[in-house]
């Protein structure tokens, strides 16, 4: 649990900082900072001991991340990631639109950590540190945005799916597994009231100079039918990126990524992330060969690819969960990522449980807003209570989901 540091914690924080950073803040500086309302000093405590902290300061529309320190014995457990995400969310609530930080030029691990979390190198400060080492300055925008995006392209791609490419001014970038809410069809001068609600769609990939996104979709109802009619230059309302995506994969991770139907679109970014630091096999299922989406992009990654169709027109004849069972039996230590129809995700979660494998799913409940206010997308969790698919998900550990009540 992450909580605000108390005055009594400062001594422990200073020691932890000094043990990890050659130029960590001293006790007096920390005490001064903590007294300021624009400073965020939050700690992770385990059995009374502080095992990590984040120190950040908000200034106008920017947040500067000064320090994130994790005790050596607790590293590589996701604490740094959680502290950073916590600080960025708090800064976003306080009105920050971008985040900035400095990293030692020689600290490849830290550079990669921030790059994976959408920070981009923006400059270098020569001999910034007392040791004479350079600092790399990095920054990222804080989402989400609400804009009228411009349709760059919108066409069938030879499958039953379509590709919608949008230019989204101010797009802050998305983590794998995040989504956007799209207006149902192009925006009209007088706001359209029917169909009324925006549609949640996974961000398939980012293109252009980082301000274009591609959406893979199928015409499945009135909203998507209208969307298919949007031509180049038309405007589509976008709110995003939204939700918590997949956590960055562990070094050397083996992953089985299972996609069904348009759920496939949620997995491309994570498949690429696993491929860059571990070993990924992507398993895609559909009714028939023409329903398999995104094959070209998955083939271009350094991943294994297995297909299944219900009519046998491509790959295994049957459900994709059958090849998944075989793959899990061969590599029970693999992490399973699944996104697709609920029965497919439920079956994947069950198979993973049988093999004691970790399974992560990306849920697709209906929702009206996408940012945690309509409460329509609540997913029942094991042990009672709900998680909001839009805010707490869409990515959930499958073992926490109450599959029997998911609808």
């Amino acid at each position: 649990m992450i909580e605000a540091a108390a005055a009594a914690d400062l001594q422990q924080i200073t020691s932890l900082g000094a043990s990890s950073l050659p130029s960590a803040w001293g006790l007096d500086a920390l005490a001064d900072a903590q007294a300021r309302h624009d400073t965020l000093l939050e700690v992770v405590r385990e059995s009374g001991e502080i095992v990590g902290y984040v120190l950040a300061r908000c200034c106008a529309e920017e947040v500067e991340i000064h320090e994130i320190v994790i005790a050596p014995s607790r590293r590589r457990a996701g604490l740094g990631s959680a502290l950073l995400a916590h600080a960025l969310r708090a800064a976003g609530r306080a009105g920050a639109r971008s985040a900035h930080l400095e990293v030692r030029a020689n600290d490849a691990g830290a550079l990669r950590f921030y790059q994976e979390r959408r920070f981009r190198e923006i400059g270098r400060r020569p001999r910034y540190y007392r040791s004479g080492e350079d600092a790399i300055t990095m920054s990222r925008k804080l989402g989400p945005v609400r804009v009228d995006a411009e349709v760059v392209a919108n066409e069938a791609d030879g499958t039953t799916g379509r590709r919608l490419r949008l230019r989204v001014p101010g797009w802050p970038g998305a983590e794998p597994g995040q989504f956007v809410m799209l207006s149902p069809g192009p925006r009209t001068r007088v706001p359209r009231t029917d169909p009324l609600l925006p549609r949640p769609m996974a961000v398939y990939r980012t293109l252009g100079d980082g301000d274009e996104i591609e959406i893979l979709y199928k015409i499945s109802g009135r909203g998507t039918a209208l969307l298919a009619g949007a031509g180049s230059g038309d405007r589509v309302g976008v709110v995003g990126p939204l939700g918590r995506g997949f956590a960055p994969p562990a070094e050397g991770e083996h992953a089985l990524l299972v996609g069904g139907g348009t759920g496939t679109a949620s997995l491309l970014g994570q498949a690429a992330a696993v491929a860059s630091c571990g070993q990924a096999t992507v398993l895609l299922g559909a009714r028939t060969a023409g329903d398999l989406l995104g094959l070209a992009e998955f083939r271009a990654l350094n991943v294994g690819l297995e297909l299944a169709t219900e009519d046998g027109s491509a790959g295994h004849h049957g459900f994709i969960t059958e090849p998944l069972a075989k793959a899990l039996a061969a590599d029970p230590g693999a992490v399973v990522y699944a996104c697709g129809p609920t029965p497919m995700m439920r079956a994947a979660a069950e198979l993973a449980r049988e093999h004691d494998a970790r399974c992560v799913v990306s849920l697709e409940n209906p929702m009206a807003c996408g940012f945690g206010v309509c409460l329509g997308c609540a997913a029942p969790l094991v042990g009672g209570g709900f998680g909001l698919v839009c805010r707490d998900g869409p990515v959930f550990d499958a073992s926490t989901v109450d599959w029997g009540n998911l609808s």
């Binding site: 609600l197 009206a368 940012f371 206010v373 309509c374």
Partner: protein, 306 residues
Amino acid sequence: MSAAVDTCVDLGGIALRNPVLTASGTFGYGTEFAPFLDLTTIGGFVAKSLTVEPRTGNLPNRIHETPSGMLNAIGLENVGVDAFIAEKLPEIPDGVPVVASVFGTAPSEYVEVCKRLTGVPKVAGIEINASCPHVKAGGIEFGQNAELLAGLVRECRAATSLPLLVKLSPNVTRIADMARVAEAEGADGLAMINTLQALDVDLATRRPVLRNVLGGLSGPAILPVALRMVWQASQSVAIPICGIGGISTAEDAIKFLLCGATAVQVGTASYLNPMAAGEVAAGIEAWCAEQGVAAVRDLVGGLELP
């Protein structure tokens, strides 16, 4: 543009910089909108209905899209009044009037929540959500029975010195009667309308689309019904009315003002466009400037009858 338009209104003792609030249940606790909307550009907001204890809400499906609207049966999921005061209110910028919506299954629960909110900084007023089943009275909504409503308003009035708005249920035969009851028991204003009770069916399964069977209909589909009810109520009471029901644009809001509303709440539209309330507020001001209206309050009740 001519001289600046005076957009201030007084909603039963709640001073608003402009007449646009956001409706309870569609705006969370305000913090969710920080990335999209500067809360100081709207009149204020009505927080999600609060109960004495936290509630977790209904099993899915909880929402369903309908022609120009949506059904919901969320089940009044909320963090509880104490967590709202301790954790949510401090996140709201100063100078943003917060109206706390209050809810319970017995009058004593409403009273308890009202008491805990009274005197809390930033809470500018209370809105009584009367569209709640009264458990002891067999589950009929407080707002559907004049005697139940009278008793509820009387007890809440005695429990708080804050400006008290009563949010009326539209699921009644004569809305004006309910408006008069609330006024007689000391309400400072009315908020109307809540959602219309409704049902839709999934033909594939022959089941109701919502797990709760019945839900509340909101969105542009209900706007003309809401306008009618606001107009009827405004003919019957002297206390100010906050108009609610399908407002997405400044034009929609101005119709409510002409039908007798002093202020309005934007609801479902915030789901589609989290900046909607800010755009409605700016649009009303621009419309007034264009039409030569000096003060927004001059529009209230200005409906020209044939």
